[in-house]
Point group: C2
Chain length 452, copies 2
Amino acid sequence: MSPLRFNAFVMNTNSHIHHGQWRHPDAQQVDFESVDVWVNLAKKLEEGLFDAIFFADIVGLYGAGDGPYDVNVREGLQIPNHDPAVLLSALAVNTEHLGLAFTSNVLQQHPFHFARQISTLDHISKGRVAWNIVTGTLENGARNFDLEHLPDHEERYKWAQEYVDVTYKLWEGSWDEGALLKDRERGIYSDPSKVHKIYHRGERYRVDGPHLPSPSPQRTPLLFQAGASDDGRAFAAQHAEGVFIIAPTPEIAADNIRETRRLAVAAGRRAEDVKFYQGIAFVVGSTEEEAKRKEQELEEYLSIDGYLAHMNYAAKEDGTSYPPDTPLADVETNASKGLLTWLRQSITDHEPVVADVAALLSGRRIVGTPEQIADQLEVWQRAGVDGFNIFNWRIPDSYTEFIDHVLPVLRERGLAQTEYAPGTFRQKVFGSDYVNERHPAAQYRGTFGGKS
Amino acid sequence: MSPLRFNAFVMNTNSHIHHGQWRHPDAQQVDFESVDVWVNLAKKLEEGLFDAIFFADIVGLYGAGDGPYDVNVREGLQIPNHDPAVLLSALAVNTEHLGLAFTSNVLQQHPFHFARQISTLDHISKGRVAWNIVTGTLENGARNFDLEHLPDHEERYKWAQEYVDVTYKLWEGSWDEGALLKDRERGIYSDPSKVHKIYHRGERYRVDGPHLPSPSPQRTPLLFQAGASDDGRAFAAQHAEGVFIIAPTPEIAADNIRETRRLAVAAGRRAEDVKFYQGIAFVVGSTEEEAKRKEQELEEYLSIDGYLAHMNYAAKEDGTSYPPDTPLADVETNASKGLLTWLRQSITDHEPVVADVAALLSGRRIVGTPEQIADQLEVWQRAGVDGFNIFNWRIPDSYTEFIDHVLPVLRERGLAQTEYAPGTFRQKVFGSDYVNERHPAAQYRGTFGGKS
């Protein structure tokens, strides 16, 4: 078996996925606004040879449309939440190898400025930046950005297509290879014949360029995506180098992977151009009994209200929660198509009720000894998964336990890397600094000459 | 005399103000993409008890409209340039007191997201962030952000008014004092009755909120502005806590300061609510002869082409430069009104020619021994200046020399602080963490209750 890849899936907030756990006295996510929490975690992850710290992000509130958000605020459920992009350079200067992945919605920044931020961070980190491309699913998030309503699914993916197109032109096409000279003798910092405007003219954006930063170590950052809908999967097949899945079973993961790889090949890429990361959480014990006891402790802190709000089922018009036995069919919801698909895939033996959402969400975990966990990870690997985005109950404990107790067992079995490969994030994962020639970003290399 | 305040005026680029100097073998700005250059500089500035590192920024190219930019690229003249915002957290974790000021144009980011970045950085730095508000003067910069043309001066300041209004609502009004509880016992992270949407509806922006970050140590960052036009000065008088001026003489500075303070008082603020920082460069020698010799060395590296391009006079339609003796009246230029005003104030004895622009720009310097420099700074202080934004010839030498040789003399005379005051950037400068009640941001405190 080849080594699996591991990312810590976190968010610059208090309660990200596993709600209520922040109340545990050892939960440091409570103080997420303190940079020390993240610097210490990043150092620990690097000690454990993790590929990356991977920041989720949202630019609104999980909750129904323009409705109440009391549960979110009370639970610290992704509010307050802070921008991950401006945090990353603090982590970059405290690590050497750890990848720095973050989520950015096409809604939230203009692509000209976003591309510049990415390039700046890729320079600062010496090529360790990854972008998780999202189009946003929150009605109230869109209302923070001048929109009256969230555009529909198809429209959002068209938007994302143009957005990445602008960034690809800037990253790959605006500066030719060898443009940056720093030639003190001749007084030529960069070669004017090799720095080009891009003159993008599209439906939403008009961007002249040139790209202001010089080419960064990776140019285009390593690209992640997590779309589960048909549009989302088609987008991932075309653009993503890492796909983040949350499959209820290894079998369903295998289906997802097979289908996305088929679409990638149809789009002119190769099956191996896309890696798949399953989202998962662990409860580790030195014995099975200890693991179960720790699981029970987690259950004590678990907030059903939090899980429900997270999945948009919590809030009735008056801000109170639906009773747990409410059939999902009776819930007025904003839930995404992806969630409903996932519920249908997961619950087949009865008509789902509200409580099932929380149970499913909180249940996506492997509980056991390091050996038992390793056995399970092998099952996922055989299903075609390349690695894992690991959720946490507590920061840093969830990662510390995995690093200290599970990784040594995985290493013995050849299931985890024993040292970092040198170079950029993409170099470590795919063996090259730049996107390969089959990726849509590559089409813009060397195409803007003559327009300087 | 009271202590003067000092900021290092820099830019995340190779050639910021004093062009050609990057060719000197000791000039580290050549490698500005390396975070080490900035971390080392920030540490040195903190050792010298500087108030802040102050990043300029532009989102386009100095050059005529949509014309050639060969000189800019060759000189490394503010291209490549990198985003300062994402660099700051690396400096925050390597310093304790140094202020982190940066420029952001209202063009470049949506105010909802920008406000979130600022709050995140203010948390990370424990209250050390300052924002230099600019509206942008570059035609080609506007063309990177979907605009066909730069809006006119009046329109840009109207835009900026709405932009700061959105950010003030988010920073001051969205979260009441005491909203953040982190109460593990009761399971209340924040109090839902104290976190409000802002429902901003304006000409350009529609922003519902709530602000996603919790209140940062300063809430509204310390606000700088540098407008020299009538509209710019009126804006500064209303919003700025620090005004950056580049006066040709102390007398002209005194006039500027008097007029802006008069406008501030007319706007309901007090004269002392606004501090003034003169832009300046130093050439330090242990003797006058050494200073002159060092000045001569600087002259050898100086690039006239660079200074000309910086002020938009370099490029004819074919990309070549105007001869130095071309009367300014004959030059087709995009130069801002502020520059022309400045030239008229500065050159009164002859009809200005192209070479005068470069001479004036490069000449804004004080050359001499530490004692001679201290004498000159006293003259500026008597004109009403509170501190200085110090330009550099070389990073880090220009600052190292000032810190090691000039500051001790200033300290002896009581003209420089001998230790940092505790607390946030605003606490250090004005004695309070938040904007005072006379500032327009203060009007939004406690005004959004009942809308949660």
